[in-house]
């Protein structure tokens, strides 16, 4: 068991920046930091628990039907988190909309299940999925922070004024879909230029 299994997900094999997976939620729900936090939490829950279960029962899954089995397991955890958020935070549920159930087909989760969890022991799977979740959370919170700040002028997280409204004429386009592509592209280009990824 190595620490690298955890840290590789943060930068070196960051699911969004390097593997370019899971771009739908990255682009779609990063309009506000609180949405990104909600998505990061739901995503981490589904990724860690579904992959742990897959890793635990990997000996019983026939090779031919492994993908449907993964999907069934992932979908079960998505249903749990979907009902949970619907029950405890209806406003967040409203904001995440279709992208909450769509975690089921998130390619990071299926990718980790196929490439990692179905071959490795429980401990390594835990580290790997935790690292991937942290890396995903890092990026979507960063992107949503930039978009919310430039798009609305300040940052409000669950009712708390995290950053005061200092921009007098915010660029509303930043919280529209093109803003997501712009921020993502500029961020990737800058990190590439600096040699981070």
């Amino acid at each position: 068991m190595k620490v690298q299994e955890f840290t590789k997900g943060l930068v070196k094999k960051n699911p969004v920046l390097v593997l370019a997976l899971g771009l739908c939620p990255t682009l779609a729900i990063t309009t506000r930091v609180e949405n990104a936090l909600g998505m990061a939490f739901s995503f981490a829950f589904v990724l860690i628990f579904s992959n742990l279960l897959i890793s635990a029962i990997k000996g019983f899954i026939p090779k031919d039907v492994r993908i449907p089995t993964f999907i069934v397991i992932i979908a079960s955890f998505v249903t749990i988190i979907d009902l949970f958020i619907h029950g405890y935070s209806p406003s967040l549920y409203e904001q995440l909309g279709i992208f909450l159930p769509l975690i089921t087909v998130n390619c990071i989760i299926l990718g980790r299940a196929e490439a990692f969890a179905s071959k490795r022991p429980l401990g390594e799977t835990l580290l790997d999925t935790a690292g991937m979740s942290a890396g995903f959370a890092l990026i979507i919170v960063l992107i949503s922070g930039i978009r919310e700040f430039f798009g609305t002028g300040g940052i409000v997280i669950f009712g708390h004024q995290f950053l005061p409204f200092i921009l007098s004429s915010p660029a509303t386009g930043m919280i529209l879909p093109p803003g997501a592509f712009l921020v993502m592209g500029i961020l990737l280009a800058m990190l590439k230029k600096m040699g981070v990824v």
Binding site: S169, A171, T172, G173, M174, L176, P178, G179, L182, I186
Partner: protein
């Protein structure tokens, strides 16, 4: 061997013209003077301030951008044109920080990020304008009438709202609301004809572009002259669709580019949500430019086309 004679061996091209990038850019700036002057005359000194801010910011951005890329910065004047063109397609009422932001975006993202002069896929000035329209839609659609500065709608905006057609003579001389440099078709025409006469610009692009819009509008039962002179079609056709970097190099390709852009303008104006579509039509056709160039490649001299199925 003659003593002291050093034969100069180099690859082609061997024939060199006096025309330089700098010379072409200077000619374009001269050609844009009538449009700029008419904009300042119609909309007052604030318009001049927008132009100056935009050009200054473009040149400084290019300097910083080239520095960041580790390339040598040459004052070739292309940044001046980007800044000037961007300012000319902004509403005269914009706050001064908007041309500054727009030019920096146009140069840094629209040009330097692609590798500098000659590498960009999309016309930088239009990239800047599209970014500003996306980010601050309200500020980018605040129009005033010339001279008195009373807020009003553009001729195309009036038409889109079903309020009839502005007289063509007003559109021709520019006595209408609109962007700083787009209102006077006459001023743009003077600059455009100068560029065509000096052979800096191919007449095919503007003619096919404007012609397509005119003919299609006529076929659709709209007054063709109104649609030709209203909005930014002239500015776009003469100065933006003819950009060396982002438009096709072949003669056929230029016609295809013009017809395609004209078709898009008609589609956006007639069936789209916006009253005007020149900016997006040129940007979309910019994306097709490599493909157009590929399919309109001229025949190589002396090479016969292979017969289909022949031996």
């Amino acid at each position: 061997m003659i003593p002291g004679f050093k034969p100069l061996v180099s690859t082609s091209p061997h024939i060199k013209d006096k025309v330089s990038v700098r010379g072409i850019m200077l000619a374009v700036v001269i050609a844009l003077i009538p449009a700029t002057a008419s904009g300042v005359y119609l909309f007052g000194l604030h318009a001049l301030l927008v132009v100056v801010a935009s050009i200054t910011s473009a040149v400084i951005s290019e300097f910083l951008g080239y520095k960041a890329m580790g390339k040598k910065f040459t004052m070739d004047g292309s940044a001046v044109i980007t800044g000037l063109l961007l300012a000319l397609c902004l509403p005269p009422t914009v706050p001064i920080w908007m041309p500054v932001v727009g030019s920096s975006f146009a140069i840094l993202i629209g040009k330097c990020a692609f590798g500098g002069l000659g590498q960009n896929i999309f016309n930088p000035a239009l990239v800047g304008r599209a970014f500003l329209t996306l980010s601050w839609p309200a500020l980018m659609t605040t129009w005033v009438s010339p001279f008195d500065g009373v807020s009003t709608a553009t001729p195309l905006g009036e038409w889109h709202a079903g309020h009839g057609y502005t007289p063509v003579e007003n559109l021709f001389f520019g006595n209408v609301a609109g962007c700083i440099g787009e209102t006077s078709a006459l001023a743009i025409l003077i600059g455009g004809i100068f560029l065509i006469a000096m052979k800096y610009v191919d007449w095919r692009t503007p003619l096919s572009y404007i012609g397509t819009v005119g003919i299609l509008m006529w076929l659709l039962g709209e007054p063709p002259l109104f649609h030709i002179f209203a909005g930014g079609l002239f500015l776009g056709a003469f100065f933006m669709a003819t950009d060396y970097v982002t438009s096709p190099v072949t003669k056929t390709g230029r016609v295809v580019f013009g017809v395609g852009a004209g078709l898009l303008v008609v589609m956006i104006r007639m069936y789209g949500g916006f009253p005007e579509g020149v900016c997006y039509s040129i940007l979309i056709m910019n994306g097709f430019t490599p493909l157009i160039d590929r399919f309109t490649r001229p025949k190589v001299y002396g090479v016969m086309k292979k017969r289909e199925g022949g031996k």
